[in-house]
Assembly symmetry: C2
Amino acid sequence: MEVFEFLSDTQGKSLSTLASDLNQSPATVYRILVTLGGRGLVEFDQVDQVWNIGARAFVIGSRFLRRTSLVERARPFLRALMEESGETANIGIEQDGHVLFVSQVETRASIRAFFPPGTLSRLHASGIGKALLAEMDMQRFEKFLARAPLESFTEFTLTDRDALLEDLQVTRQRGYALDGEERNLGMRCIAAPVFDIHGEAVAGISVSGPTSRVGLDQVSRLGQSVLAAAGKLSAAIGGKSKQQMP
Amino acid sequence: MEVFEFLSDTQGKSLSTLASDLNQSPATVYRILVTLGGRGLVEFDQVDQVWNIGARAFVIGSRFLRRTSLVERARPFLRALMEESGETANIGIEQDGHVLFVSQVETRASIRAFFPPGTLSRLHASGIGKALLAEMDMQRFEKFLARAPLESFTEFTLTDRDALLEDLQVTRQRGYALDGEERNLGMRCIAAPVFDIHGEAVAGISVSGPTSRVGLDQVSRLGQSVLAAAGKLSAAIGGKSKQQMP
DNA sequence: TTGCATTTTTCATATGATGAAAAAGTCTTT
DNA sequence: AAAGACTTTTTCATCATATGAAAAATGCAA
């Protein structure tokens, strides 16, 4: 199991590299790989003599998205958002202090942001992440903070607790979050939370694109679009934000 | 491991149901689930008291698609194909006698075919499947046949070996495959193979839609579009069909 | 409160995971 | 072709842990 997970983080490695990295005997790792291979969870690349994640893992993992209809229902809204904004539209959820990107509708523009499904990105340095953080109660937020330091990705990343809290306050008032080159230089992302029937923010919707197209003068316009799309999806799943709760 | 895989096939089950289905003691299954749960590979739904595939499995499985750049490179072609045809464009690969759908670009049309990533469908009753079968040598084809009977899904499904062979012959001559309500009544799918640098058919591209829009009079037109898109993707990855091999 | 079903924990035993070592395979150099 | 180095695969004895039975805990309905 450890081999399986390690392999997913650092794919395309030989048996001896894996054994060395995992500090386990090659014989053990070999047998695990062969067992996993027999089930299709990993695959051996004969050409390069390396091991990779297998198709069966993809099939199994895909089942994760089928537990709710959220992603399926989100797709028309994501498409409309992509078309309205001209940028790639994403939906992501919170997972262990990270945003997990689960689905995208890509723009046709030649320079585009793309986070393939399965991408993990730190909450504090992500539009969707901050939209979700802004909806957390302080207890949960403190728990998030205690998990790991606020890692710096660019000069713009918010690594100070108070700076982050202030940003989240602005996010709540504004209704949408802005990742202004905090994760990747030259990229901006605007996101809003999606609420379920309990008033919980269960996902975030965003548009992301290069700073050349998503200038600061575009943020407000795109923010309204994202907010509207997130609101429509929330409504579509019978959701409402806490302000609308009785 | 067996629990993990079983859970992906039949999600949302309670501990005792799983234990009964797997013919294992509840204690064993419980501990396996708890171990898998600790790693995020499965998750317990407190509300319904059932176990589901977890986010970590999705993350790991997603790595399967990152082994090659095929899917990423295919997306622009899929998008163009969707826009040209007005139908949902898919890319799938062969996996253990099935088509594994790995990515889609959905149409906006109100009635649409959608096979979420991770969907498995029998080769012989699928456009992509038949496009790939048509490129197999007889040895591999016989191996495919020996694997399982040609299951019938609709009255149109090809369940006779000779009928299938004839269809594949037509597919080869024509360049594209047609699934004419063979998997789902009311649905048609047109597909063509994508070749790699070795001249191997490594994937299939298709458009699929309801018979109301994909009438028999549309098949030839759409076939040309699919064929062109598959050809472009093949060229983009340095691929060529066997006929083009020296 | 009682009874029943399900889940969770404990415990003794059996199974199989483990690493060392040997065997086999692969590649490069002479 | 032979030798050497390295990697992978198989064998084997040992021990760690997976297993199921049983007990304890929890949850739900009457």
